[in-house]
Symmetry: C2
Subunit: 498 residues, 2 copies
């Protein structure tokens, strides 16, 4: 290095060489103290964002999340405009987004699920550009493929060290698995760890490591832990729900899939959990051990693991404290990224290995298409999340639903919004009977053999109409307020202004 003859300018069979300059070599130690910024204003300033920037957020803090709003408040104070919010989900707690949409700070939104005041305001025509609603797997696909380019991923970090090593299992707002931000941190141009709990280096139980994080920003609190954990994480005890759950469990039993190695996903709702409970009793009686249960995980799933009904849990998101504890302590309970969970790319996701999934529906129609995006009055109240992903992946996709809700029929001629294509739904189980998708005659035969008597879905539709007092309202507005994107990036439907 002191002698320029040491390194030639060009090497045959290789090409030009650039010699290391002594003057450019130094200890990196001092240079690589990562900025730990005192607040989000300092972070926004350090990022030197431009109008129109794409900011991403995860939803592990659910309806207790204070981070997305705090970041957007800081962006507003910095005078930024026309931001694109790429949130994995939006809840009631995010209501202040409405004023930032009104003022032009937020110009567009994509998300996988949207409920509460933001969803309602958007349904009523708040935004000029439509919200893009993706599936959990579709979002992972869009990020990994470069379709959704993120300028800055803000990662709410239950604990974090000064170099940005993030753990979800410690801190006052511990949420356990951090499955949703994983694609964001891999692909975003910049990553900010937002934390209320700065721990000594190195953080313990690192889930996102420092080589993915550009800076750390401190906040007083990530949010309200009581909103982070969802309400219902016990099986329903309502007679109607139990009847539906019992039938759904019998459908799974009759399907032939309930053998050793069985895999299951069910949501955190009372009927879904009751179905898993009923199924657990069958598994126990028959001595069947399942391989895994997946999805958002509750304490109820942990009970099934600990009872030996499943060998493992694959968890993209914890729903309660018991799930967090188990994820922390039991190696059979593994975390997974949204990409591993549901990415529809050719490498295959966990959903593709599901034997059965138990799903809900706002509406299901005569072609078995499911709406989990809009209410009967047309207001947005959800979105696919993992619904369309698991339906496509699982060998047996079961929708459980009552015939009516709030006076509206839930079995309809045609869904108000097509979220999940009927070709991926196999059975609908209601309190008034079971209908099998005509594409699954094999299943019809198995159910009949098991003493279950499926009826045509038209029959359930007729009963639902009989028992309902009102009819869904379908908007004919030209103003499209949201687009429902399928996991592969095509569009299943548009949602119109109410």
């Amino acid at each position: 290095m002191t002698d320029h003859l040491r390194v030639p300018d060009f090497v045959e069979g290789f090409g030009p060489l650039q010699e290391t300059r002594v003057s450019s070599v130094s200890k990196s130690h001092g240079q690589h103290r990562k900025p730990v910024l005192p607040d989000l204003d300092a972070a926004i300033s350090a990022l030197e964002l431009k109008d129109g920037a794409v900011l991403s957020f995860h939803h592990h803090l659910r309806n207790g999340d204070a981070v997305m709003v705090a970041v957007l408040e800081a962006a507003a104070r910095a005078g930024l405009r026309d931001l694109h919010v790429a949130a994995s989900s939006i809840f009631a707690v995010h209501a202040p987004l409405v004023k930032h949409i009104e003022s032009g700070v937020i110009g567009s939104i994509c998300t996988n699920f949207m409920s509460g005041p933001v969803a309602e305001a958007i349904s009523r025509g708040l935004m000029t550009s439509p919200v893009l609603l993706r599936t959990h797997g579709g979002r992972a696909r869009a990020i990994r493929s470069g379709e959704l380019e993120i300028d800055v991923a803000f990662v709410a970090a239950p604990s974090c060290d000064p170099m940005g090593n993030i753990s979800g299992t410690t801190g006052p707002q511990a949420c356990g698995v951090l499955g949703y931000p994983q694609c964001d941190v891999l692909c975003a141009k910049r990553v900010v760890a937002v934390t209320d709990t700065l721990v000594d280096y190195p953080a313990q139980r690192i889930q996102i490591s420092q080589d993915s994080v550009d800076m750390v920003a401190l906040v007083r609190s990530l949010g309200d832990v009581s909103g982070i954990l969802s309400g219902t994480t016990r099986p329903s005890e309502q007679p109607d729900d139990l009847e539906i759950a019992s039938k759904a469990a019998r459908v799974i039993e009759a399907s032939g899939l309930l053998v050793n190695g069985f895999s299951l996903q069910n949501g955190a709702g009372g009927t879904s959990l009751a179905t898993a409970a009923a199924l657990g009793r069958v598994m126990e009686r028959k001595g069947i051990v399942g391989s895994f249960a997946s999805g958002g995980v509750t304490g109820f799933h942990v009970d099934m693991l600990e009872a030996g009904l499943f060998e493992s849990l694959l968890n993209v998101q914890c729903f309660d404290l018991k799930a967090i504890e188990s994820f922390r302590n039991d190696p059979r309970h593994q975390g997974m990224s949204a990409s591993m969970y549901a990415n529809p790319h050719e490498r295959g996701a966990v959903v593709d290995r599901l034997d059965a999934v138990v799903l809900g529906a706002a509406e299901i129609d005569l072609e078995f298409n499911v709406n989990v995006t809009t209410r009967a009055d047309g207001l947005i109240m959800g979105g696919s999340g993992g619904h369309a992903d698991t339906a496509a992946g699982a060998t047996l996709s079961i929708v459980t639903t009552k015939l009516t809700a709030a006076g509206f029929p839930k079995i309809v001629d045609r869904v108000g919004t097509l979220t999940t294509p009927g070709k991926t739904i196999d059975v609908v189980v209601t309190n008034a009977g079971i209908a099998v998708n005509p594409g699954r005659d094999d299943l019809t035969d198995r159910l009949r053999a098991a003493g279950l008597t499926p009826v045509p879905i038209e029959e359930l539709h007729r009963l639902a109409l009989e028992q309902s007092e009102r009819r869904p309202q379908r908007s004919m507005s030209d103003h499209i307020v949201a687009i429902s994107e399928y996991r592969d990036g095509t569009v299943t439907d548009v949602i119109r202004k109410v």
Copy 2:
């Protein structure tokens, strides 16, 4: 979806839409059974590789690895030519590569470390294009930045399920942490999990997940477990080594860095471990608790963790069974990727947080430049690995060495190959005295105050020459057989044909 009016072709404020076609929607379950190929020939065939393809390999199986050779044998049988081998390290066990270089199957190589028959043959002029020698951090940087584009990453998988979820902690060839292939699997166009232990889905303790893996290929054995674990993982008991170790520990103590929160990296060699042992006794006596020890981890490091001398271990590679056991069972013992360990990008790596590193040297010169790449006779016998990375990162970089080896001086006028720039080396500790880099006068003062009496490196050089019978041979050949790349991608030196 049945009605083309449902999804318009274009939405104002958004752009064109492509409607989901019912005919293209299907259950993904059947499609996403990942190929589990019976052998590497089937894998090579399925990959449809072209001549010149870039194949990457990790070195967690060290000198017991049978995977790299088996893949290249299969590539040779398939008639492939001019392949680029991107291996994180090459050992004696990889000797069969020589014949594949001779036959033209392998056209070029990049690696971070190279010893044994392949290194010797390359030193003697086997290849027309020079081998590119990187650092561990430099390889991570090159892959993440796109400078090194990998067509296929072959990941030796101690256990793996049929969807490609890989664990390093179970299976007959369990090697523990899988730090080196992490960048490869993130960035390679295709990823093949190569395993001798196919486990039921889902694998336990997943370290590389299915969404990064394209196919699984079965082999009879990943290799020889006795070669996977390195020999020396206990401190040396040789008097010379113990004297050097004791001095090195006194240097660290005198440096002022040995306070609570201290962090250390030391290699797996006997003198390095003896230095850590000596330091451990000081820490115990003074009641000092370090924050972390990093690097390749041995059972000796585990002992220090369990004795409470360090709060945690950050481990890129396990060197012995005890390290594997501890990594499996103790959450304070965390794995890290090569990128987290040593990537010189602006996000900062673990090496940047090191207080002290204890390094070896084949030669060190009057400018404190270190050679760990070639022997005194010019033959390649190593490469940086993490040497240049940790030297640049640590506040205090100590090289421990005897004055001579095999009759050659180890303190030289000028190193045969410049691996690690002297500007990043602070102290050299020998059996005959200590020399401090003139750039670190603060350290000289501290050592003097502690009763240590540093001497000019010229004095150690003079003694080394006195005690040696032979002089290093420097090749003047025009045939450049290897290029020593610094962590930032510039070139510190070239290695000439012997």
